[in-house]
Every structure is written in structure tokens, then in C-alpha cells.
Amino acid sequence: MLINGRKGQQVLMMGNEAIARGALEAGVNVVAGYPGTPSSEITQTLARVAPKRNLYVEWSVNEKVALEVAAAASFAGLRSMCVMKQVGVNVAADFLLHLALYGTRGGMVLVSCEDPGALSSTNEGESRLYAQMMEFPLLEPGDFQEALDMTRWAFELSESIRNVVMIRSVTRMSHASGNVTLGELPERTARAYYDFKGPLLGDMAGPVATLPGTVDFMHRRQQEKLKKLEGLYDASPFNTYTGPEGPELLVITSSACHLYCREAIELLEVSGRVGLLKLGTTWPLPPRWLESHLTAAEKVLVVEEVLGCMENTIKAFAMERIDRIGPTAFFGKADGAVPSTNELNPDRVMAAMAGILQITPPGLAPEYAARAAEIAKTGAPVRALTLCPGCPHRASFWSIHQAMAMDDREGFVCGDIGCYTLAAAGTGFHALKTIHAMGSGAGLASGFGKLAAFGFHQPVMAVCGDSTFFHAVMPALVNAVHHRANITLVILDNSGTAMTGFQPHPGIGVDAMGGTAPALDIPDICRSMGAKVSLCDPFDIPKTRKTLLAQVEDTDGVKVVVMRQPCALSPQRKHKKGFRMSIDPERCLGASCGCNRLCTRVFKCPGLTWDRENDSARIDEVICAGCGVCASICPSGAIQAKEDA
């Protein structure tokens, strides 16, 4: 459908699919990214159709390299796109700064899909400020049609100003769906050629480089590019206004908040009093168009996620023109009308509007609300985060936790980003004691591992996944080895980038487009760095524990333990049970086991349940993945694993 849909056809599309289609309609040639929710589908869907569309799609090792890969294509005159989640922009930021300073050649678009409310992240950071700070254009689609149209246009925009253009989406835009009318898929042939012959300060030819002494010229040129956009933005169809001419309250919004505002206005029935101004070109601001609307309003409510980026720039904008616009009362994050953290929704926006307009928002009838709360308690109970049944991380952390407890020197584990991040919770026995960014576990451990000189006695462990290893851990590991940090790095190799949808990475023999690729060997790399490397199968609990105990006892430098076992949802594993699990009713002593339900209370694999009627453990055959690990943890040997033919 992504490539078969014809011009004029109306389809139901996810925001990410619409962005992908928009890029195809712009004739994009190179797409690079790193998996990150809520962005991954863009790169994934394009990878699937790549062979049919003269398209090269790559899962790069990290977002900085992805941006560099996309930039190379742009310098060679091709159209390219780079896709990531909000934190990826932080990783790419160093290169982005230089890229924006010099400029691009073929149209280049950076798509950042962000996560207000941290539905699938460990933070709700923002990348919109990069556009202001590094001075390049920012676009935010406010509905699904715009997701397509804006992306298609962004390449054109990029070529007109010869700079990267950022499109910012959020979960509720990327992962929600709406009606989209498709455009035309071009027949574009592109020829890549990097024209480095020319003056140093040239635009479309010459080296793409800056040097001290040239920066002032480049920087002024960069700022002039942005200035040129003002007229373009003033006329852009992506900036819309609906509402009365002189509204009592002007609501300024962008992105998914646009949809919440429309709902709120409808539910409050205030379309006669409230004007809705939706910005699609959010940086730089469209000056004359915005000024005309601000002049017509005395109260302005800015609705955005998460930080008050627009609120601040619009306030400054209004202040500069105060003699023409007149004083304006601003509402938003600063005065608390809109929450400063978490994502917004129609209820929160209604509350803000109702407060300003001094009306009561329609709420749930009290009996209904009470009944709903009651039903939710049993019908939709709050559930703990959990690793999948059969997840090798559960087995790995079982051994890690045991080993650290037995070692009894208050050892701890520095965590990292992936499915195994959940090990900070009960599902991983609360093993992780720090969690920050990709690669931070090893980096922090490298630091902790040098504190013996200050009386530090605690064993230090770090964990990372196979994808995280390539993304960011390698430099930290080099640091640790070179500085002789006393640490153990446990690499949880489950053969893929699992958390984001099991994408391949450089350790896997397959690339984004499904072709074969050389697989880099993680133990070899660690060995050649000079670390002491052991391998184990996390499903072999006694051997894994023994290996870990030996590593933490060794205080000399860096030890690496690679725990290799494929993810339960990997292509090799999915739908295949290694064992048929069962409970021997003679051996399971139920509540009188004296183990206080170790299996369901502590180990907590979803495939194990407690049968209260029969006072016994039970295997849920539908959920059980047949990994066999629970058989090693039952002290009575009541859990039986029979090899499944």
C-alpha cells in the first residue's frame, strides 16, 4: 500500500506510514536511522519497499552515524532522510551543529519522533530547541495528512535554503492513524556525485568544511537562510486559523496538541469565543501572519508538549511588537494553566481553556465516574512492568542478582537502554541501580571502577544489549580497559535490537533491507580491546552464577561476560517451544513448600501462575514459551521440563 497506493486514493494510515509515503513522494534515495519508539516504523516500512524504489535504507549503528550517512547522500546531490526518536537527536547533535552551519545540497530531512509522557522512554526530552539553537527550520505536522504533505514539501524546502529541515512528530501522531489522501510517486533517477571541487566557502560545490576564520561568514549565511523563510512561512498552508475574527481567547498550538484543542473547543462548545491558530512551521515563526492574529487577541493560550518552546518564542515576539500588538495576557506553562510535564490530552486542554474562560468543563457524572473506577480495579488492574515469558534477560538477572547477593559486598549493576532496562523493576529482581542513556551503564561503571583509591569497596557491574554495545558501549569499554577500571561488563546478547521491534544491528548477519551482511563478533572485539572475556548461556543458571562470582572476585581490570541466548520473540525462537513444561503435583508442596511461592512471587515469569484452589503452581500453556528455566529454580524440583520434539 505504501508504494501501490495511487494519487488521489484515500487510505487509513499511521502517522509514521504517512511520513514514509511523503518521503517516497519526494523521491528520497537514502534513509538512515536507529530504532527508537515512536520512530521505527518509518525506516522499517521504507526498508521493506527499498528494492522497488531505488532506495537505500540503513539501520546505522547509532544516530550520529545515521545523520552522517544521510548527509553524505545529500552532499552527493541525493535526497536523504534521517529518522530517530528524541534522544537520538542528542546523540546526533555534534554533527548536526556542523551540518546546519555549513548546509546541505540534496534535500535533507531529519525526522524526530518524540515521546511526551515517556510512554516508551526513560525521559520526555525535547528536540525542538535544537532548531532554535542550531538555527535550522522546524516543521510539526498537526494531523495525518500534514504528516505526508509536510514531509514531501520538506525536501523542497531543504533544497531552497540548502540546509537540513527537521520534522518533529510525537507518539500520538506517529502511532495513531487517520485518513490520508495520497500524492504521486515520482519516477526519479538520481546520480550521486560529490562535487568537492570549488572554493572552500562555496555552496553547491567545493569542500563541505569549516575552519576557524570562516565560521563568521558561514554563520551569517546560515542566519540569512532562515530569514529568507519568513515570507514563505507567512504564506504556508501548514499554518491555519479557525475561529472568530476577534476571539476572546486565541489558542496557539502545534503537533498532536492541535487535535486535542479541536476536541476541547467542540466539547466546551466555545467555537464562537475561541480561535485556534495551528502552527505547522514552528521555527522560525511566520512573522506577519502571526502578528496579525496576535493583534486581534488580548488573551493567548499556548498549548504544546512538553516544554514551553513556542510559548517563550511567541512571548518574545509579542514583546518586540508591543506597540503594534498591544499588551497580551499569556497563558500556558509559565502560569500553570497547562501542565509542564507529561503529555497533554483533551481533558487537560479543556481544563486550561475552561479556567481562562471561567466556565465549568463537562465532567463525568459522579455515579458513572465512581462505577468506572470500581470496574477498573478488577477489570483493568495496574500491572507491573514485565519481561516476556522465555526472555533470556530474566534468567540472566536471576543469576546476576544471586551472584551479587552471595558476594555480599553491596555490589551493584549500572543499567542501560533496552528490554533489560526493566530489570530495575521486580521482573529483573531490581538488579539495576543506575539508568541513563545508551552506553551510560558502561561509562558510569568505568568511573565507579576507579574509586578504590577513595576506599570504594563495592563490586561494579554494567549490563548492555548487543545493539547497545555497538551503539555506544564500545568507546566506554575502551576507556575502562585503558584506565584499568575494576568492572565486569555483562553483554546480554539476544541476537537483535529487541525492545524497538527486533531490528538487525552490526552483530547480525542481515541488514535493514533483508540482504546478508557481515556480522561483527562481540567477544572478538572485546578480546582485541584487551578485556578478559567469558561466554555463557544464561539458561544454564548454575554455570552462569559461577562465572559471574568468579568475575566479581577478580579485581584486576575489565572482565566481560557475554550471555548469549536469542530473544523469545526472535525469528529463531518465536512459536517454537524448546520444552513442554508441567508441574508435578506430588512434588509441588504449594503453600507448605516453605519456599513462600518462589516461582510466582519472586521469579515471576508470566507463564507461571498460582492455582489457589489446588494450592499449587501451574503452567499457563498459552503464555509459556517453553524455555525450561523455571525448572532450575524450583527447590522441590516440582517443575518438569520435557524436551519438545
Binding site: H401, Q402, M406, D408, L549, G594, C595, N596, P635
Partner: protein
Amino acid sequence: MEQHENLGSGQEDLKRKVLQNELCTGCSACVHLCPYFEHYRDKTVIVHGCDGTQGRCYAYCPRTPTDLSALQKDHFDPKDLTPELGAVKSLLVTRAADPAIRATSQHGGTVTTLVRLALSEGIIDAAVLAGRKETFLTESTTLSRPDEVAARAKTQFVVSPTVGEFNEAAGRDDARRIGVVATPCQALALAKMRHRPDPADAEKVGKLRLVIGLFCGWALSWEKLKPLLEARIGPEPIVKIDIPPSRYQCMEVTTESGRLSIPLSEVEACVRENCRYCYDMTGEFSDISVGSARSPEGWEVDRGWNQTLVRTPLGEQLVGLARSRGVLEVKDAPPGALAKLMAAALNKKRGCLERLKEKSGRPDDLIYLRAEDPVVTSWLEKV
């Protein structure tokens, strides 16, 4: 601290009152009852939290509130009870008749001889014994053949997880009558276990048939002992460690290259903190207790003999059998030997009570002992 009979509390209480209170003896009675405790490198550790409010771990621990009178009533004839040494039917000086056994033993080889005999006679079909592991650690194993015993002969100065091993062995079908060689704290744990076993454990605990206690002044912390020994003897394997009578003020370490003497003051710095709160020098809750001999003949002779306290009818039966089979040589204890032993034992009790009161901060709070316990008051009369 509560002053009442051990009604049972759970893991959390055990952790606060014993493990984190420097009282844990390392006896490992709490290990292998459930999956939540492990013994590793001379430490008893909690691996997972258990939210149980009543547990066997707490009930069997020798350092949770203990009713010594009730325990004595379980095992001993009241006529045999002495305040200083517990039950005493007789004090003997003994050694293995077989010189080969003596050559590989700590002193007289009495324990090795009695355990071998108990196995070969079928009094027991399994014996839980401590032995050395690498880097000065210890481990306890369960043996069933008499010829396997001599290899476990020497004294260990780092506590071995014997009761944990008993817990595991008792759960197996192949061991039905178990004998344990136990330090005083381990013997006390076994007595508490037998006194009020959890119904789920009754069968397992019922398998315990013979306890041979060891005289003990204190045990050493592996964490502190290891660097001390490594500095003195390097990586050479140790053949034997011994502590001669106090007038020698030293610890003897024998390796393949020879015997080295370490000043006792350096060794005393390695004593486990919890041993300061132990009252029992002779392993009172056992059928027979064995230690090294003391006599006017002097250490060069005494070091080849044992002092043996016989406490129960089973103890008498076993020693009598050993004598009649000619595997155990017996001398009469020299005059005054019993009095000397009692004085030494009472000294340990005196020190223990003082330190318990200091720890609790109250003269009537003896932490795991009851001040009103007739057994305890009987010491106070003597002290």
C-alpha cells in the same frame, strides 16, 4: 529484645536481630531450608526477600531467643547436668589406636575413629563433616563410607556450613540415619531443630541420630585470615593449622615445607565478632564432645591425645564399642582435669554474659539467652 521462648519470627527479624547485629555464627542452620539463604565465602547471605512472618530460619537459629533448660530436658539425664560443661557422664582422655589415623588427624584422631565406627556399625549411614576448600575456605560434605572419613580429619578454624549440609542431606532418600560433627553453635541449632521441628521438617530432623561436638574457643573470619595467611605462607597448600595451649601464645601453621608459628595476637585480630557472644566452650548439645588434651605431661604428649566428654547413653554406647573393638585407646583423665576444664568453660561463660549485657545495654537483657533461665542462673551462681 524479647525475653521469651522462641515463638518464631521471619526472615526480616532474623536479618535485623542476628545477621545485621553481628551475632551470626555461620552455623548455616538457615541455609537449604528454603531458597532464600545461601552460604558463600564464610558469609550467610539473604538472596531474596521472603515476606513470611514466621520461619524456620528464625526458629532454628542459635542466636534467636533460646530456652536452654527446655533443650537440656530433651536430651540429657538431669543428674548428669553441670553448670559449667552441660551433661557429663564421664571425662576421658582418648586417641585412635591406629597410628595411621593419628598421623593424619588434628590431635588424637578420636572423632575420626568414632565416626568411622558409627558408619561401619550402621549406627549411622551418613556423616556430615567439615573439610578444607581452596583459599582457606571450608565446605561440609556428607559421606557414607568409613574410609572417606580420614580425609576430613583436621580442625577447621573457619566455620563450615555443616547444618546447611545436614538440611540438604536429610532431604535426600539415601541418608536415613545421619551423624554430624558440630561446633557448639551448630550443635545448639540442631538441638533447637529437634526441639520443635516444623511439621514439614519432622521427618528430616528425625534422621539426626548422632552429634559429636567439638570444643571451641572461637572461629576465625575468612576475610581477615586470608590476607594474614597469604602474607605469611603465600600460595602453598596448608597441611594443618593448630592452636597450642594459651601459654604458647601462637598459632601453628604446617605446610609442605614445614611448620610456621604466628603470634596469637595477630590471629586474635581475625576472630569472628559473633564468637564474643558465645557461652559454649565444649559443644554441650551433643552425645560426645571432643577437644585437645591437657595434662601435667605437657603439650608434646598432649598434642597426640583428646579430652572426651561423654554425655548420653548413645555416647556411652559408642565409646564403649570403640574400646571393646580396640580402635580407641582410653586413659584416665588426670586428677584435677575436670576441674580445670570446668574453670576454662566457666571463664568463657563469664566473658559471654558480660559482653551480652554490654551489647544490649541492659543487665537483664542477654539478647538470645533468658536471664531467668535456670541454666543461665546456675552459671551466675558460679561466676
